[in-house]
């Protein structure tokens, strides 16, 4: 990991939440005791206005993590230079403790398909993703974290596992990984493998942040359960259990509650963050008991 990293405004190894405009006021009024906030970079790419004023105010009081949803790292086509420049400016302006993006693509023929589309795990895609990640890290002058996806399909052509693909990218580019435990549960259910095995094989030493979110239930073509990464409800019980298992292996890590649709009240969102903090504390106690 030899990419120069900004050390200022470090994200603490405790719970944070995704910042939503609907919660600006309660956060400013209550100044809640929460570790940090994360924002979707694209929502703050306007030239000015209230979004920046609120974010500046919140940044004065809390560490901030920047999470991109539109870079399209897995696209065959070159990255959008204008978008990279906007990210660079945002990174310089807010000095976030972490910057992350997705193993996914969303652009094609000048169009943007507002979703995280799946990448085939081939040598060609690996090379393309690695080049794009190199370009991002060089442009921003910092390390980025790459997030494992929720997927609903797999490709005939894939010649390696998702974990092999992520590990290779991290080793080649020096990028860290963002481990979304809900995505692991969603993909494992959808493709019929064990989420525990996946987590145990994940290169945990390269993980800089954890995501937790809610999922919806549907059915696939054969009537089997198909989980959808909807971010529209509370974290499910099996995902909390997998989270505790992950933390037991990794030690404390910054943990984000993502809730992007059907937004809860600030109090309900804060309660989810406190649930994650409670698991972090419990894990610390268990580790110290074992050490003694």
């Amino acid at each position: 990991m030899d990419t120069p990293a900004k050390t200022s405004s470090a994200i603490p190894p405790r719970a944070g939440v995704g910042l939503k405009a609907a919660h600006y006021s309660p956060i400013q009024e209550q100044r809640p005791d929460i570790g940090w906030f994360e924002v979707h970079a694209e929502n703050y790419m306007g030239a000015g206005g209230p979004p920046h004023r609120y974010l500046e105010a919140i940044r004065r009081d809390y560490p901030l993590s920047l999470h991109g949803v539109g870079l399209s790292i897995g696209a065959d086509k070159p990255l959008d230079r204008d978008h990279l420049t906007r990210l660079k400016r945002l990174n310089e302006r807010y000095q976030p403790g972490l910057f992350s993006e997705h193993l996914a693509w969303s652009t094609h023929d000048d169009f943007f398909f507002n979703d995280l589309l799946p990448v085939p795990y081939t040598q060609e895609a690996l090379t393309r993703c690695a080049d794009h990640i190199d370009q991002v890290q060089e442009t921003l002058g910092r390390q980025m974290l790459l997030e494992n996806p929720s997927t609903y399909v797999t490709f005939e052509d894939s010649s390696m596992s998702e974990i092999e693909f992520l590990r290779s990218l991290s080793e080649r580019t020096g990028c860290g990984l963002l481990l979304d435990v809900n995505n692991v549960f969603v993909s494992a259910t959808n493709h019929g493998y064990s989420p525990e095995d996946y987590l145990d094989a994940f290169p945990i030493e390269r993980v800089g942040e954890i995501h937790l979110g809610g999922h919806a239930r549907d059915q696939d073509d054969a009537g089997a359960p198909l989980l959808i990464d909807a971010h529209d409800r509370a974290v499910a019980d099996p995902v909390w259990t997998l989270y505790a298992r992950t933390i037991g292996r990794s030690g404390d890590l910054p943990t984000l509650i993502e809730w992007d649709n059907e937004l809860p009240s600030w109090q309900d969102l804060f309660a989810e963050a406190q649930a994650a903090d409670a698991i972090l504390v419990q894990s610390q106690l268990e580790r110290s008991r074992v050490a003694r």
Binding site: G49, L71, F111, N114, E124, V153, D220, D221
Partner: protein, 270 residues
């Protein structure tokens, strides 16, 4: 699909082809899932693939709903969603910045046959997009009207105004302000008399986006200033277009809204 066909496919397909085919299927609702996908249990994963198709369309419909709430209120949720779907198909976003999506929604509505009975819908959409633009526009501190008294009176006519970056002017043959105001205050737009047009200014000098109906002559005066005319020329054009154009009254309104950020004298720019 015979198995030999699958094998030859997987050897030949490049990332570029694979993504091209993926998008072709994504954009064609009746299409089957792309052939590059694995087939769990031997079944073409149409329902699985449809999750992506659905995610794209639903997230873009939601983006348009949040940007055009008054258009939605005027036509109802069901009609709005169908219209949004047609627009998304016609003009998918070209940028990952969702608050910029919908710039051409007003023009689309003008020409959308199912909306022909609501002919003012396009103007309402343009007003809502102007509000969104103002919200995200560059911040700049406006100047007060007293600034004009610091200029030599004989050169005042030569003064050029730099208007606020968040400002948009709209001229409508429909009462677009009244329609927007009635609908955004949860009142009924049906009581609005459709006989007269309205001109509108949208601006955000501080936190809040301001939408105002311009008095007679205001649009031609401000449009001239916005296009770089001097104060004297802009006032001249407005006087020609409007009887009894009262310059002092309009200047007071303009500065009162925080619409002026700088005043320059032409000869001082050399």
């Amino acid at each position: 699909m015979p198995s030999w066909c699958k094998a030859s496919w997987s050897e030949a397909v490049s990332l570029a082809e694979l993504q091209s085919d993926f998008i072709d299927s994504l954009r064609t609702p009746s299409a089957a899932a792309p052939e590059s996908l694995a087939t769990p249990g031997g079944m073409r994963p149409n329902r699985r693939f449809n999750v992506y198709r659905n995610n794209v369309v639903v997230s873009l419909i939601e983006a348009l709903r949040s940007s055009f709430p008054v258009v939605e209120r005027l036509v109802g949720e069901e009609f709005f969603k169908a219209t949004a779907r047609a627009y998304i198909d016609h003009e998918p976003p070209r940028s990952p910045l969702m608050f910029q999506y919908g710039e051409t929604f007003g023009n689309f509505l003008d020409a959308f046959p199912p909306a022909a009975s609501v002919p003012y819908l396009g103007d309402v959409a343009r007003l809502e997009f102007a509000r969104l633009n103002a919200y995200h526009a560059q911040d700049r501190v406006p100047i007060a009207i007293t600034h004009l008294s610091t200029l030599p009176p004989e050169q005042l006519g030569e003064a050029e105004f730099q208007l606020h970056p968040s400002l948009t002017l709209l001229s409508s043959r429909w009462p677009v302000f009244s329609l927007w105001a009635a609908s955004s205050e949860q009142q009924s737009a049906q009581d609005v008399n459709l006989d007269t047009g309205e001109d509108v200014i949208v601006i955000r000098p501080e936190y809040n986006v301001d939408v105002r109906c311009l008095p007679s002559g205001g649009y031609s005066f401000l449009k001239a200033l916005q296009d770089g005319a001097s104060l004297g020329d802009a006032a001249g054009q407005a006087s020609e277009a409007t009887e009894n154009f009262n310059l002092a009254h309009h200047l007071e309104g303009l500065f009162g809204l925080g619409a002026v950020c700088a005043v320059e004298l032409r000869n001082s720019k050399q």
